[in-house]
């Protein structure tokens, strides 16, 4: 009986305590840079798209919300012909970001994506692509990888040795 009266009194005192609520639209909570929010496609330092349309993100996606189509350009680089994310299905799990070999797909701390029309939640490539490099500045896939494209033959990437000449016996 006494403990119940004490309970009532303690709860009553909370009337004068500070509110814990974050008044959301006016007062925004801090979201860290690694927060998993809206997905973006980033560019490499030269301003080209990083995405090489390898489809690993689409495979990794547990809810199958990513769809894309590969094309190959004249310079030998792969690019997505279209890249579409259906955010009404996306669960912001970040598996696509982990799967991406080129740091192209990244999750951002932006979570305010409410729409009145469900179709407006389907984002195309031009909606997804941003101008900057996101969380990994300075990284360019083609400059690291040993694949040959126009203007960069095999062996010209960073930390890559010249390809072995198989017809030469000299070491």
């Amino acid at each position: 009986m006494w403990s119940q009266l004490v309970t009532i009194w303690r709860v009553f005192r909370h009337l004068f305590a500070a509110r814990d609520t974050v008044r959301y639209p006016e007062q925004k909570p801090y979201l860290s840079p690694r927060y998993r929010g809206r997905i973006v496609l980033t560019r490499d330092p030269d301003g080209d798209e990083r995405c090489v349309a390898c489809n690993l993100c689409a495979v990794a996606c547990p809810v199958d919300c990513i769809s894309l189509q590969k094309t190959e350009d004249d310079d030998g680089r792969w690019r997505p012909a279209f890249f579409r994310i259906n955010f009404s299905r996306c669960i912001m799990c970040g598996l696509c970001e982990e799967a991406c070999p080129t740091y192209a797909i990244q999750l951002t701390p932006d979570v305010e994506m409410s729409e009145y029309d469900r179709n407006s939640l389907v984002y195309e490539k031009e909606h997804l692509t941003i101008d900057g490099q996101g969380k990994y500045p300075g990284y360019s896939f083609y400059r690291k990888a040993g694949i040959s494209i126009k203007g960069k033959a095999k062996g010209e990437a960073d930390q890559e040795e010249k390809p072995v000449d198989v017809r030469n016996l000299l070491p």
Binding site: Q4, I8, V11, F12, H14, L15, A18, R19, T21
Partner: protein, 317 residues
Amino acid sequence: MWDMELLLKITLLVSTLLPTAALLVWLERRLLGFWQERCGPNRVGPFGILQSLADLIKILFKHDWIPPFADKPLFVLAPLIGALAVMMSFVVVPLSPGWMISDSHIGLLFFLAMTSLAVYGVLLAGWSSNNKYALLGGMRAAAQTICYEVFMGVSLLGVVILAGSFRLSDIVQAQQGLWFVIPQFVGFVIFIIAGIAESHRLPFDLPEAETELTGGFHTEYSGIKFALFFLGEYLGIMLISMMATTLFLGGWLGPWLPPLVWFLLKTLLLICFFILLRASLPRPRYDQLLAFGWKWLLPLALVNLLVTAAIKLTGGT
């Protein structure tokens, strides 16, 4: 033939009671929020005061569904009984000297009669839903109400002995010198506990008990019928607070301010206390509730009655 003033009073009372009940929902959510270090609804209108209106609009547009397995006439009738029986009791509540619809000489008995009828709403809702959770809720309501009704009546008899009348205005007048809460403190506590149990408020909300009975007696109800149950519950809190004010806290009596303001102030304070109880106390188990009622409160109420009667007979106040 018709008393125009009376009709006007009834219209005014009904048209203020219903919005006040809606406002009470807002007040309760707001206060609960404060006691849990939250804000409560504060968006719709100034301080969120229009939240109930928004809820009302939403609930009116919901599908008014009657389950095919339900007993249809009773299913429709039950929420009406629940809300109407409570609203009838407001007839005898004396708001201020000139502000009572009926100053009946059996006013207190009328109040007890109407609260005892209000349980039919819950009971029939539970039975007619044809749903095991609803039935369990209805049974709990029946057992709980019978148990707590008994000593609610007994606890009020002390007041009746002191005032010497069932007429509510006489009871208020008899508290001119001393509010009955002091000589009848035990009766006051028992009445408050029984009142919470009668209106199925949270420490004793076993008939609905969301966590165990998925909503209890109103499991199958939606839309406007559910709103009627809600209305009945909130009118019930108001009624119990008003009656406690009238019977124990001196009704409209008080210095400086006009009588009506005093009455409403006391009622509001009691309502806030009920909400505080909801915020702080957990729900007891069903058998604990009944054992507490029969084994503690009923003997206590009887002893209170006997002692009061003895003091009155031996020529005390």
